[in-house]
């Protein structure tokens, strides 16, 4: 009697732990399976750095999209941008992506998600809702250029990029706004002699430097320069491509980016420009937020000018083709898309443009359907430039794999400090494109 009894008691921990594990495993599986059925909340996963979109959506949920929010309440979750790709891959693997999510750091990942049926085709969805006209055509063309001809993400942001400059420093140095690359280099030279750093740039981020390489390529070889690389018709190691890297490396060799460019992070670079320590700052129009903020902008927003990336002498590209992007875009999960989600999408398409411009002065790819008043002059200037522009280009890594993008951006600082040669830089990136 006592022996079997004792044995049974001793077996309890095993049974219990096996049971707990079984529960754990089925729990994980259940979470995955459940999400693919109809959504009960309008869940939104976004990088925690972006506070604009969640703020705007929350405001819409209380106002214009109240009915949609009652049917399907908005719920925002955040993840640091550097962990976003990993998180998306895991969630997609478990079939439990949220209703709306930031679509990944590189278009490559979004395309992969699309192939596995996780991304809504907005061309069709918005046409069905009769809301396709709520999107700026320029934004749609940028998105299609990025995602292989598909309208796969929502343009919560629409940015153009160019060089912001300090009008006062330019006037003091007696220089005009440069129209060509050679004039830009000459201007930088003049400015550096006055003791001001010509360019503020974050080498820690890397992309502000590789953007210059990409833009030089677009101006020199034409807007299809990097499409050719993506298609395998040209290589970054070709002499005409290396020339662009050499041009940017040359700026670094002359010390135009200031000291320790590899350690300068994004905020520091912005601060250098906004406190008048640097004369020029290559950045996208998302920086308008800081430019218009008197607490951040010590040089005054009327002292800030915006010029397009200059032309390259004898180049095929035009100075009017602004590099454009849609920021870190968000998309909808096709697996849980239904009428309630569609209602949200329609409401966002109709109202987001004006709401974001009105309250944050942020420019999106949604049309501003209601009149917006009191827009800052600098924002107005950029908005006008966007609506006037007829064609745009992408950026250096836009069509690269995640791996080549990482290699490009982590080696950018070395390119301008001279630690690696322009040939080696291009060779490293090309090597990752090849495999």
């Amino acid at each position: 009697m006592t022996r079997p009894m004792r044995r049974r008691a001793a077996l309890v921990p095993i049974v219990a732990s096996a049971g707990a594990l079984a529960l754990l495993l089925t729990g994980c599986g259940g979470g995955g399976g459940g999400a693919s059925s109809a959504a009960t909340q309008f869940t939104y996963l976004i990088n925690s750095e972006n506070t604009t979109i969640p703020g705007q959506l929350t405001a819409l949920a209380d106002d214009q999209c109240k009915a949609e929010n009652t049917a399907l309440p908005l719920k925002v979750e955040t993840v640091p941008q550097t962990n976003l790709d990993q998180k998306l891959q895991l969630l997609a693997g478990q079939n439990s992506l949220p209703v709306m999510y930031a679509a990944g750091n590189a278009p490559d990942l979004t395309k992969t998600l699309d192939k596995s049926g996780n991304v809504v085709d907005f061309e069709k969805a918005l046409t069905d809702l009769g809301a396709i006209d709520d999107i700026e055509p320029a934004a749609v063309s940028t998105i299609k250029a990025l995602y292989g001809g598909k309208f796969n993400v929502l343009p919560y942001q629409y940015n153009i990029e160019g060089i912001w400059y300090n009008k006062q420093i330019f006037a003091d140095a007696g220089i005009e706004v440069p129209q060509t690359w050679d004039e830009l280099v000459a201007a930088a030279d003049t400015i550096s002699k006055t003791g001001v750093t010509p360019f503020a740039a974050s080498g820690e981020q890397g992309w502000p430097l590789t953007r210059l390489v990409g833009d030089y390529l677009f101006r020199d070889l034409g807007p299809d320069a990097l499409q050719k690389v993506a298609d395998g018709d040209a290589k970054l190691t070709d002499p005409e491509y290396v020339k662009a890297a050499a041009a940017v490396a040359d700026l670094g060799a002359k010390g135009y980016f200031g000291q320790g460019v590899g350690s300068i992070d994004y905020d520091t670079a912005a601060q250098q420009f906004l406190t008048g320590k640097a004369a020029m700052f290559y950045m996208g129009s998302w920086i308008l937020d800081s430019m218009n903020n008197p607490d951040a902008n010590k040089i005054g927003s009327d002292n800030v000018g915006f010029m397009p990336f200059p032309a390259v002498d004898g180049g095929k590209g035009s100075i009017d083709e602004y590099p454009a992007n849609v920021g870190l875009p968000s998309t909808l999960n096709a697996k849980v898309y239904d009428d309630k989600v569609g209602a949200w999408l329609g409401c966002i398409a109709e109202n987001y443009g004006s709401a974001a411009l009105q309250s944050e002065g942020s420019i999106s790819g949604f049309k501003a359907n209601t009149e917006v008043t009191g827009v800052a002059p600098l924002t107005q200037e950029i908005q006008t430039t966007i609506s006037k522009s007829t064609s745009s280009v992408l950026w250096f890594e836009a069509l690269f794999s995640t791996k080549a993008t990482t290699t490009s951006q982590t080696n950018a600082a070395q390119l301008v400090t001279g630690a690696i040669s322009p040939e080696d830089f291009m060779k490293l990136v090309q090597a990752d494109l090849d495999n």
Partner: protein
């Protein structure tokens, strides 16, 4: 007790839960990961069988070999640094500070308990060149030298990683080796002294041979820890500039989770496992030989 342990069912009951958990969280993923080495793909796209393509690719991937070289260089430099400095510390505790070493031991041990990220930030700021000049560059400037961009080149960045990781773990190895040296019988030391051994000859001929087992444990700890280095590098340089300070672990992590190539990432992980295994076996064999001699 003997009765209980003689019963196979009792053993099964005692080991069962731990073995089950170990199998589920350790062995299954390890074997799973091993299986991935002959597949390519990720959680989104699914997996396709590619045979030994991943191994062929790894053999011809210069980044893998750069990472292997860096890993080995790091392991050798940091292990030598950690154990050597730790040994010096323990000698200091035992022979110089003697009974009053408590407070010094505590102070030197302090960096061990600090979070890695905090230490990395501290070193980043110390060696900073821009936007503000860090303390190291300030000192260089004071002596009339130009500021050095410490994180701008791979060689300098490696130097700082090595300094940081050695500084961080001196305290740990100091205490570990102290425990070994303090156990050496006082009469042995006394008789050696009577025979005329002093200073370095005492350390070389008496202290080191007698503390060899604990010294070897320290080396095994250190080698295996340094081969798998991840957190301190990711926090200090994130593998940069470029990938000049990327160890295998970081390359494996990026490959699997950033580039979405689980199969290739697993192949790199297998390579790291093999390296760890070879080194451990090598050290164990040499230690066994030494012990039989003694």
């Amino acid at each position: 007790m003997k009765h209980v342990l003689g019963d196979k069912r009792a053993i099964a009951i005692l080991l069962g839960p731990a073995l089950l958990v170990y199998t589920l969280v350790m062995l299954v993923p390890v074997i799973w990961s091993l299986g991935y080495t002959v597949f390519e793909g990720n959680a989104i796209t699914g997996f396709t069988f590619v045979g030994f393509d991943n191994f062929v690719r790894a053999a011809g991937d210069p980044k893998v070999w750069d990472a292997v070289l860096f890993t080995i260089k790091y392991a050798v430099v940091v292990t030598v640094g950690q154990v050597f400095m730790g040994y010096l510390m323990s000698l200091l505790y035992v022979f110089v500070l003697k009974r009053s070493s408590g407070i010094i031991r505590t102070l030197v041990f302090f960096p061990v308990v600090l979070p890695t990220v905090a230490v990395a930030l501290l070193f980043q700021k110390m060696f900073e060149v821009a936007p503000t000049t860090g303390i190291v560059n300030t000192v260089i400037n004071a002596f009339g030298g130009d500021s050095v961009d410490w994180f701008g080149s791979g060689a300098n960045a490696f130097l700082i990683i090595a300094i940081m990781d050695i500084w961080r773990s001196i305290g740990f190895y100091g205490v570990l080796l102290y425990a070994g040296i303090v156990e050496i019988p006082e009469d042995t030391l006394e008789s050696a002294r009577l025979d005329g051994a002093t200073g370095w000859s005492l350390v070389l001929h008496i202290v080191i041979p007698l503390s060899l087992p604990v010294l070897l444990s320290a080396i095994i700890f250190s080698v295996n820890g340094t081969l798998k280095v991840f957190d301190s590098i990711i926090a200090l340089t994130n593998g940069g500039p470029g990938n000049s300070t990327s160890p295998l672990t970081l390359y494996m992590f990026q490959t699997s989770f950033s580039y979405g190539e689980y199969g290739y990432g697993s192949t790199i992980a297998l390579l790291l496992t093999i390296i760890c295994l070879i080194v451990t076996v090598f050290i164990f064999r040499s230690s066994r030989r030494d012990l039989t001699k003694a």
